[in-house]
């Protein structure tokens, strides 16, 4: 439909033929991700969540999917069981959940309160249409120790024209595993289902269990009475065998669950329930979308361009005598430097000829590189003499020339208020490679040497310890960096712990591998004042598409040594290839300068690929810190505004027995741009990696200043993501 509309536009506006071709090209790319396209006027339905933090009734799932890209946080509690779930709608049909659960009065397997992590996957097989219901298949706790293991196929139909006010949603489904434990009707796919064994290493995909064993039906209705209130009733197929008869978690008397929910705000929904004939429960549901910022971003605009007088009207303005004068050139550079700095941009180098100019700049403010390029172009138009017609704008990141955007000044003047201002400018701009250096250019003497330091609080948490779900250390951190010359960085940070309990973890590492990551509590315990990092790093461009880095020092709390990296990434390519080699030694627990005996040569060959539509893949093959050989696959959903959500898994030649709990290394990456919170331009972002458990297998070195992200942040895809902001 999108393409049809575009075709029609082209027919209507033949004058925009070039744009139409571009739009159609983009249209075919859109087509691949057709389902991810969304309209500014859409207000997509937001399904309510169940006690597992997934779209559902009370304890049972429904077939609804959340809007593409939506996040949900669910915290539910009943019968001494608390489930905290983070769900993400990774594609329009696929969603994933990560859950942390605490079950009181478990009193078995050595746990008084049993705590566990689990992952779910849901796939919308069929969207709801006028007649047929939506159908979803789900795998619950499909790779953990399996306490919540269950599979389901569920259908949901919405009736909003019923005689009742509001909206009625009717759901029916079939459950296996845990969801087939009450009133089963048979075993269609075999009865040999492995059972849950607490204390197993877990983590492996339980293919042999899925959809095996007894199957039982479940059903329910959700009546959204008005904008605020909803009522829910369901018949559950979960007998809570382990909790009820096996242990004394709670007593189940009925399979019927009832509840009411209140939509408190756009994001927050609260529910109260009566479950299994004996328990009162509560459910806190919060949903948000990365596309909807906490504070919408506003950028103070620049004044409109001053259009040059025509050559005939003002020949003196077009005089090129200035080009021969070093003095004039320097004064243009100084003027440009000050205009750029008003926009938070730093002039790195400027080279002028009578008809063209190349500006190299550092963008310290805007997360969207298109804003930096647009402002730089307008600053050049404001400052430079009339004869300079071609602007080449090169974005620099830590001395790496990322890309060159070529813009004609007359296009800027003609298109500033064009009906399609941003697209039209993109159509006539070139985005290409930038040479490593610009010999003979005027530079900015203010940039080097550069010294910066900061002092502030830090918080260092540790998660999912069976006795204490969250442990925290906090204290003061001093960080400093010194850049003596382009590309060189000398940086370090020192932490002083004021309090916390990470080091109190009584568990000692039972790892059968070299303890490269499992000695975290020893590091926390013994290093009250610790040198966190201290290193020297040099980054440079080795060719138009080649980037390099060499680092030496204490890279992270646990390792120090040498690291070298080479990256190939053409400006307009979706593919990048990299290689990294490190030789590192394990650092002393006390955070001093000393090392322990363990050393290792570790490194990877990496391929990175931008699939389009916001999907990014990365494959790393190599040797990990414990000397194990293997590969890591990372799939990330990236939003144009800088939000990223990814999942990764590492398989190495370490067996699941050697690896220990979890069987293999896996986790979630999350990156949030700071301007999403602040609503003001800010280039920084915060990142977090959450692993259900940290073991020694598949562990990677945290080398400082890896190249890929800082290189591609100024390449074509990044520029085009938010190109519509180029005139901001």
């Amino acid at each position: 439909m999108g393409t049809e509309r575009k075709l029609r536009d082209c027919a209507w506006w033949p004058g925009k033929a070039a744009l139409c071709v571009a739009a159609l090209g983009a249209g075919s790319a859109d087509q691949a991700a057709a389902e991810t396209a969304y309209s500014i006027f859409d207000t997509p339905d937001r399904p309510s969540l169940n006690f597992y933090g997934a779209p559902g009734l009370v304890d049972m799932p429904t077939a609804e999917a959340m809007p593409d890209g939506q996040f949900a946080i669910g915290v539910s509690h009943f019968g001494g069981m608390t489930r905290t779930t983070l769900s993400f709608q990774a594609t329009p049909r696929l969603s994933a959940s990560f859950r942390y659960v605490g079950i009181q009065d478990w009193n078995a397997n050595g746990f008084e309160t049993y705590r566990d992590r689990s992952f779910d996957l849901r796939y919308l097989l069929k969207k709801e249409d006028g007649f047929w219901p939506a159908v979803t298949v789900g795998l619950q706790d499909f790779a953990g120790t399996g306490i919540y293991a269950g599979e389901y196929v569920v259908a949901t139909k919405t009736f909003d024209n019923s005689p009742l006010p509001g909206t009625l949603k009717v759901t029916g489904g079939l459950g296996w595993g845990r969801l087939g434990s009450s009133n089963s009707i048979g075993t269609p796919f075999g009865s040999d289902r492995g059972s849950f064994t607490a204390g197993d290493t877990g983590g492996e995909l339980s293919f042999d269990q899925w959809f095996r064993g007894p199957v039982a039906p479940f059903a329910g209705v959700e009546w959204q009475v008005n904008d605020r209130w909803a009522l829910k009733a369901e018949y559950s197929s979960d007998a809570y065998v382990a909790e009820d008869s096996g242990r004394d978690v709670f007593t189940r008397k009925s399979q019927v669950n009832l509840g009411t929910e209140y939509q408190y705000s756009q994001g927050l929904r609260l529910g109260a329930y009566y479950l299994y004939g004996s328990e009162v429960g509560v459910n806190f549901q919060y949903q948000f979308h990365p596309r909807n910022p906490a504070t919408p971003l506003t950028v103070t605009p620049t004044l409109p361009l001053n259009v040059r007088p025509s050559r005939a009207a003002a020949p003196q303005a077009w005089d090129t005598g200035w080009a021969a004068s070093t003095q004039s050139q320097i004064s243009y550079r100084d003027d440009l430097k000050s205009v750029l700095s008003e926009s938070g941009l730093a002039l790195v180098a400027l080279q002028l000829s009578p008809a063209s100019g190349e500006l190299r700049l550092r963008n310290d403010r805007y997360q969207a590189p298109a804003v930096a390029v647009g402002r730089a172009a307008r600053a050049m138009a404001q400052v430079l003499p009339a004869s300079v017609e071609t602007f080449r704008i090169v974005l620099m990141e830590e001395n790496l020339a990322q890309s060159a955007v070529t813009v004609r000044r007359s296009d800027l003047e003609a298109l500033e208020f064009d009906p399609m201002a941003a697209d039209a400018l993109l159509a006539v701009s070139g985005i290409g490679e930038a040479a490593p250096r610009l010999p003979g250019a005027m530079t900015n003497a203010d940039l080097y040497p550069d010294f910066a330091w900061a002092i502030g609080p830090y918080v260092s948490p540790s998660y999912f310890d069976p006795t204490e779900p969250v442990r925290l250390d906090f204290g003061v951190e001093v960080a400093a960096s010194y850049r003596p010359a382009p590309g060189w960085t000398i940086a370090g940070s020192l932490q002083h712990r004021l309090g916390g309990n990470v080091g109190d973890d009584p568990r000692t590492s039972n790892s059968r591998l070299p303890k490269v990551r499992t000695n975290g509590s020893l590091y926390a315990n013994q290093g009250e004042t610790a040198l966190n990092t201290a290193y020297v790093s040099k980054r440079w461009k080795a060719g138009n598409d080649l980037y390099a880095r060499v680092s030496l020092g204490y890279f992270e709390r646990m390792f120090g040594g040498v690291s070298a990296e080479l990256l190939w990434k053409p400006v307009t390519s979706n593919l990048a290839l990299g290689v990294e080699a490190n030789y590192v030694k394990q650092r002393d627990f006390d955070g001093g300068l000393g090392f322990q005996d363990y050393s290792v040569a570790t490194g990877h060959v990496s391929a990175y690929y931008e699939f389009g539509g916001g999907y990014h893949g990365q494959l790393d093959v190599g040797r990990y810190l414990a000397g194990d050989l293997g590969a890591t696959v990372t799939i990330t959903r990236e939003f144009e505004n800088g939000w990223r959500v990814g999942g990764f898994a590492t398989l190495t030649d370490v067996s699941s027995e050697e690896f220990g709990e979890g069987s293999f290394d896996k986790g979630i990456n999350l990156t949030v741009p700071i301007n999403w919170f602040l609503g003001e331009p800010d280039k920084r972002s915060v990142s977090a990696t959450i692993r259900p458990i940290q073991r020694d297998g598949g562990a990677r070195l945290m080398a400082p200043g890896r190249l890929y992200e800082s290189v591609r942040s100024g390449h074509r895809n990044a520029l085009e993501d938010q190109w519509s902001r180029v005139w901001e």
């Binding site: 208020f417 009906p419 999350l670 519509s724």
Partner: protein, 232 residues
């Protein structure tokens, strides 16, 4: 994970410093310092909710004291009034003269022959727009056609929406602008794209062809604004 926590602390501290330095320089002339900032007023809507600020009664004397052209803008979302300065005027390859007006808090609205074709610094801005079919309707006959309007989403991307518009001539109308009675052509423009609709109204001065008053839609986030050309 440590970075998330430090990030949040950072955000908190940045938020505080932003509050401390939030003040903007006020303009020298009476009207330009009197208005309520266009962009800030929407951002602090929650804070000012239920407490409408007093309207400034614009007088000829006040206008005469104010240098240059003056545009009064009252957005529906706040009902608050601001006075904008003309900071740019020019002709480009697209027919119709473009004017850039700046609010007291440095947001901008861009008019082509009085038709809103862009906003900057408002949040959820109108990035660009066609106005040719609208302007063509000002000859007193009405008309219409397709208008491509590019609207910013809140995630840094934008969407170009092909609205179908009809311009209807509502006849002559005399309007009062400060102490002036102005004879105008009153026009209405109805635009739709699927279920999404908006209706603009224009009052174009009969003698000069200059738009003196309008009520125009600035996109789904900002909504409508009432625009009066008080002077110049």
């Amino acid at each position: 994970m440590k970075h998330l926590a430090t990030g949040l602390l950072l955000i908190a501290s940045l938020g505080l410093s932003a509050c401390a330095t939030g003040g903007r320089e006020s303009q020298q002339s009476p009207l330009f310092s009197a208005g309520t900032a266009l962009a800030n007023s929407i951002r602090s809507r929650a804070a000012t909710d239920g407490a409408p600020k007093g309207r400034i009664e614009v007088t000829r004397e006040l206008l005469d004291k104010t240098p240059g052209a003056v545009l009064q803008v009252v957005p529906d979302n706040t009902g608050l009034q601001d006075f904008l300065q003309l900071v740019g005027r020019r002709n480009d390859p697209t027919p119709g003269t473009v004017e850039v007006w700046q609010s007291s808090d440095n947001a901008q609205i861009i008019l082509r022959e009085g038709v809103l074709v862009g906003t900057k610094g408002l949040t959820g801005d109108m990035r660009s727009a066609q106005a040719a079919t609208t302007i063509a309707g000002f000859d007193g006959q009405g008309g219409g056609g397709e208008r491509l309007i590019t609207l910013a989403r809140l995630d840094g991307t934008a969407q170009t929406v092909p609205f179908s518009c009809d311009v209807t001539q509502l006849g002559r109308e005399v309007i009062q602008i400060v102490d002036q009675r102005v004879t105008t052509h009153h026009l209405r423009e109805d635009c739709s794209f699927g279920a999404q609709r908006f209706t603009n109204e224009y009052w174009v001065e009969a003698v000069s062809g200059k738009m003196r008053r309008s009520r125009q839609w600035a996109g789904p986030y900002y909504g409508y604004m009432m625009i009066d050309r008080l002077k110049g």
